[in-house]
């Protein structure tokens, strides 16, 4: 006779059972699919990084052409890999409380991975090497290194990655806002104002901020990406380089920044499970994320400090924002995590140690970034390897280790155990010494003024690259050790997929032993999405419909012959007029699609709506390439039809946006118009 006395020791803290849900199969599968894909991509890109460092150290003899191909792939691949993995990690924890849709997630996966393949082809086969930030117009000055098709493939790839993240963000935003009472509810602002007794869970607030800012950033990126794609087809497409630079860095900086926040959103749930203390969402937390919502968007201009023609107010705002954006991180996120850990009898496992290490990387790397964001300091550090140092500190030693921690967490829970203490200690030692050694070398080089992105290092500085390469190899060993433990944990988890271990006591002899007990068939019930309602539209009330109709009437002005004629004086004004046509169509589509009778007829076509709301503005922008519209300008009637086509693109986008719910629809409509306006601002040729 035997009796069960307890579950076998779990990898989690014993107190965590009070606030930890059993993960559902869909959460594990989606989470692991995304994280594993992302980490594989990160590992491959890491190898490229090592090759580049060894080239700088003159250990490997790689031509500058190949160096810059690899550099471009390394940058874009790392961002994409980390993005995919972090999206999966956040989805895993968010799905507990928000009815996210697996179909949308898989569409996002397909787009992102396909985009990554495009970038791979463009760089390795096509030889494209303009850097992942593709600062216009560098792509079109290849110095004989890459053909036009590789530019097209790169930008199509980049746009697909952007579309993948766009789909993710729209679904997250739509579901968090519909589950938690609109945008203000999902951001916790109703709780902050005392209108709700409880705040949404921490990952919900984080995910809503990330989705909101991510959509804005991706829209800017897709706008400039579409312009550049148009330029590959017609060399008369021109750019205002300052406006383009703003778009590129608004997109690039914000996305790189959001990688940390995506991962942090998951860490709010994961780390407490090892500390045995639930993460408490306070009003300070909500306020901090509210501040972050704005600051994440305003800091990017520090990349343009040395563009003295950038408006002074933008530079100063960016400096203040850059410092201020560190405050919620330092005072709320990292600080509260350390409060959870302090005196908690923290359970040190592979996952939890990596989670803790990530906090260290964020704090130290963030400090280096804040220093670089002070304008007089940046004057002496701009585009030196100091920049490489600080972003590698929080990408390698925070984002990457948190993504590894996420996989470890899922596998540890399924395996019911973690890796050996010796293996963990060695892994952490290798990661710490290698990681901080590598970035430390860059910090030293930065103070010496060594420029970044040099295939050939300045004379007398090759030694630093050699030391850096050695540290990079130590870090690579640490990652390898970590991956090996993940594989072993994965094998154990797979072997135990049908049973769990429980502690038994033999009632005759009193001896303890562990026995296999079949896993329960039932799963935690998923959070159900509210059934689709015809009234869940962007313009729900008669007043809102009237405002939409009024906007249509105002936008009609863009068709007035006087306005059209006046706009012909400059490309920008003409594009602005096209934006007016698009806006008219979009508002008309929104109004029509929001009418109850029409909404019922159209039904819940969110997937189609999402695809259309991305494709329609993209199509509208691409047909503004001269080679497309010039044949139509020969006859006034054809030209009028062309303008009507702009409104038609808007109409389709508006109808599509009306299928994306109140917040999702308004946001996507706003972004569509924003994209065509930004396009008008950034393009001056064609």
């Amino acid at each position: 006779m035997a009796s069960i006395i307890a579950s076998a020791p779990s990898a989690l803290h014993p107190r965590a059972a009070a606030f930890t849900e059993e993960a559902r199969q869909i959460e594990r599968r989606i989470g692991l699919l995304f994280a594993a894909t992302g980490v594989v991509l990160i590992l491959l890109m890491g190898v490229l990084g090592l090759i580049m460092r060894l080239t700088q150290a003159t250990v490997i003899d790689l031509s500058p052409a190949w160096f810059y191909r690899l550099m471009t792939l390394h940058g874009m691949g790392m961002i994409t890999g980390a993005l995919i993995a972090a999206m999966g990690a956040l989805w895993y924890v968010l799905h507990e409380s928000v009815p996210l849709r697996a179909g949308h997630m898989l569409a996002s996966y397909t787009l992102t991975v396909s985009g990554a393949v495009g970038v791979l082809v463009a760089t390795l086969v096509g030889g494209f090497g303009a850097g992942w930030t593709f600062l216009p117009p560098l792509s079109f000055f290849p110095a004989g290194q890459w053909p036009t098709w590789s530019e097209s493939v790169f930008f199509v790839g980049m746009l697909m990655v952007g579309s993948g993240f766009f789909v993710y963000c729209i679904d997250v935003l739509r579901q968090t806002t519909s589950t938690y009472g609109g945008l203000t509810g999902a951001l916790g602002w109703r709780f902050l104002r005392g209108r709700e007794p409880e705040a949404p869970p921490a990952p919900v607030i984080a995910a809503t901020v990330i989705a909101f800012d991510g959509l804005l950033a991706m829209s800017a990126g897709m706008t400039i990406g579409l312009g550049l794609l148009g330029r590959t087809y017609d060399s008369r497409v021109g750019f205002d380089l300052l406006a383009s630079k703003n778009l590129v860095y608004f997109f690039g900086h914000t996305i790189a920044n959001l990688l940390i926040y995506l991962a942090a959103g998951a860490v709010y749930v994961l780390l407490p499970r090892y500390a045995g203390r639930a993460y408490e969402v306070t009003k300070v937390f909500v306020a901090g994320w509210g501040v972050a919502l704005v600051l994440i968007l305003t800091v990017y201009s520090h990349h343009l400090y040395m563009d003295f023609v950038q408006p002074r107010w933008a530079e100063i705002t960016s400096e203040i924002s850059s410092y201020a954006s560190a405050l919620p991180v330092a005072v709320i996120t990292i600080y509260s995590m350390t409060m959870l850990v302090w005196g908690s009898r923290y359970r040190w496992t592979l996952a939890s140690t990596l989670l803790y290490l990530g906090l260290v990387g964020w704090a130290i790397g963030g400090t280096g970034a804040v220093i670089d964001s002070i304008i007089p300091f940046n004057f002496r550090l701009h585009n030196t390897v100091w920049v490489v140092a600080h972003f590698h500190t929080y990408l390698m030693l925070t984002v990457v280790v948190w993504l590894l921690a996420f996989i470890a967490h899922v596998l540890e829970r399924d395996a019911g155990e973690t890796s050996s203490k010796t293996a963990r200690i060695w892994t952490m030692a290798l990661l710490l010494v290698g990681g901080f050694g590598l970035t430390g070398t860059w910090f030293v080089e930065g103070t010496l003024g060594i420029p970044r992105r040099y295939a050939i290092q300045p004379p007398g500085t090759v030694g630093y690259s050699l030391v850096g390469s050695i540290f990079a190899m130590v870090f690579a060993l640490g990652v390898l050790a970590c991956v090996t433990q993940l594989v072993l944990l994965g094998q154990t988890a797979w072997g135990r997929r049908h049973y769990v271990l429980v502690d038994h006591m033999d009632s005759w002899t009193g001896s303890h032993y562990q026995a296999r007990v079949a896993r329960a068939d039932g799963e935690r019930t998923a959070v159900e999405a509210a059934p689709w309602a015809p009234g869940d539209v962007p313009l729900a009330s008669p007043g809102q419909l009237c405002i939409g109709a009024a906007a249509c009437v105002v936008a009609l002005a863009s068709f007035f012959p006087q306005v059209v004629k006046a706009s012909e004086t400059s490309i920008r004004y003409h594009h602005l007029d096209h934006a007016g046509h698009f806006f008219l169509g979009l508002m008309f589509g929104l109004v029509i699609g929001s009418l109850p009778a029409v909404s019922r007829q159209l039904g819940d076509r969110s997937a189609l709506g999402l695809a259309t709301v991305i494709v329609a503005p993209a199509g509208m922008m691409l047909v503004m390439v001269p080679r497309f519209y010039e044949p139509l300008e020969r006859h006034p009637f054809e030209h009028s039809l062309y303008h009507l086509a702009m409104a038609a693109f808007g109409l389709v986008a508006g109808l599509a946006a009306s299928r994306l719910g109140r917040v999702g629809g308004r946001m996507s409509a706003f972004l569509s118009v924003g994209m065509v306006l930004l396009f008008a601002a950034a393009m001056k040729g064609g």
Binding site: D307, Y346, G446
Partner: protein, 178 residues
Amino acid sequence: MSLHYGHPQIAIGLVFAVLAFLLATVFVVIAVQAGSDVGFERVHAVGYWLRKRWLALLLVVGVFVVGISLFDLPYASGGPSGRTVVKVTGGQFFWSLQPGSVPAGTRVRFDVTAVDVNHGFGLYDAHGHLIGSVQAMPGYHNKLDLTLSQAGVYRIRCLEFCGLNHSVMQSTFTVTRG
């Protein structure tokens, strides 16, 4: 107020090293303490008390550092009167400076632009120290004011990735003895 004494980068590096060391020490202490058993109420009470002071400290440091920095912005203002204008043009993969030399002590205004893609005008003094940088962008003129008091051959390196020969895009600028 000016921050132009010594080699600022070294001072910046040292400040960062000290801050990084302090942060690392704090994380080691927390990791060691993580194994102990302290009631969460106690952690709450002390942690929130400390957090207010931590925020206040960061705010004071921020206001101080950002405030001082605003008095030392590198942006040129006003006309070029009293300054020698040096026209700088960057292109794949060359620098053109007109004139190519000035006497020591000259107040110089570098008028920087580019003919093809973005470049970065990074000026290194005769000892190889990076004095400062400004972007060279087609269609725009960025103006950098500096007083070059030390004679010697200054070096210009490209500080914005501009393509295949970015790392060898260099030139010199001579400051002669006054």
